[in-house]
Amino acid sequence: MAEEQKQAQAPSGAPRREGGSGGHGGPRREGGPSGGGAGGPGGRPRGKRQYFRKKKVCKFCVEKMDFIDYKRADILSQFVQERGKILPRRMTGVCSRHQRWLGVAIKRARNIALMPFAGSAAGTQAPRAVVPAAAAVEAPKA
């Protein structure tokens, strides 16, 4: 009985695993150990998004900032990639209002050479303080 169940689940599990491996590292990693054990039946049918994702909160809302200063390059540099691209909201978890202000602030800072424009050499870049949420999302992809 138990073996039949396992066999029945295996084919249904396999294609999902393939689908998940496209973009996310999470499902594949979990699929390995659960293949032989009892971990499969519980989580599988619910969908591919079974791995835990931390809820991101807007850093500026937490600190109650009503004004993002373009002169604080140390803060702004947390929200750009190494090459100076502004990170999207889905990476950093910044709320829409603050993202709007942040964009303006970064662009002002670029104007006075406090921040690099996208594409400029990374040689002059200070070591970037990593946004924890963004790093967690980026790491499996690379």
Binding site: K64, D66, A113, P116, S120, Q125
Partner: protein
């Protein structure tokens, strides 16, 4: 026209002697006095690395000032003068008062909300025990 607050940052060449920078600053001061403006703040940030090359320099001396004025032409005049000066490789003027006004408004709103909040949280605690009682 109401009073406006501006940020003025300029970057001087890295090897500029201090007298030259002082000359630029006194020039700004002079223009401000002429056109009716007040320098609120002057900060000397010193030599900093530039994020990209400006006029073939990798670093520059930053000077930051805040200027309060009623006349927009003053800023135009200051920009024109900074552009002419050989020592200054880059400058930026930003109007700040609108952002600060928004900040003040939002802070006021937040305080209002904070003042209102105690009233709203008081009815909540009695509601919580009811739920737990219903669940059990």
């Amino acid at each position: 026209m109401e009073e406006r607050l501006y940020d003025l940052i300029f970057i001087a060449r890295p090897a500029t002697p201090e007298e030259e920078i002082k000359k630029v600053l006194s020039g700004i001061e002079h223009t401000c006095a002429e056109k009716g403006g007040k320098i609120e703040k002057t900060e000397y940030w010193g030599t900093r690395k530039l994020a990209y090359r400006v006029a073939k320099h990798r670093e520059g001396i930053y000077v930051y000032q805040q200027i309060r004025t009623n006349h927009g032409e003053l800023i135009a005049e200051l920009e024109r003068r900074l552009r002419v000066q050989d020592v200054v490789i880059k400058y930026l003027t930003v109007r700040l008062d609108e952002d600060l006004k928004r900040q003040k408004k939002l802070m006021g709103k937040r305080e209002q909300r904070a003042a209102r909040r105690p009233r709203r949280t008081q009815p909540a605690p009695p509601a919580a025990p009811e739920q737990t009682a219903a669940a059990s």
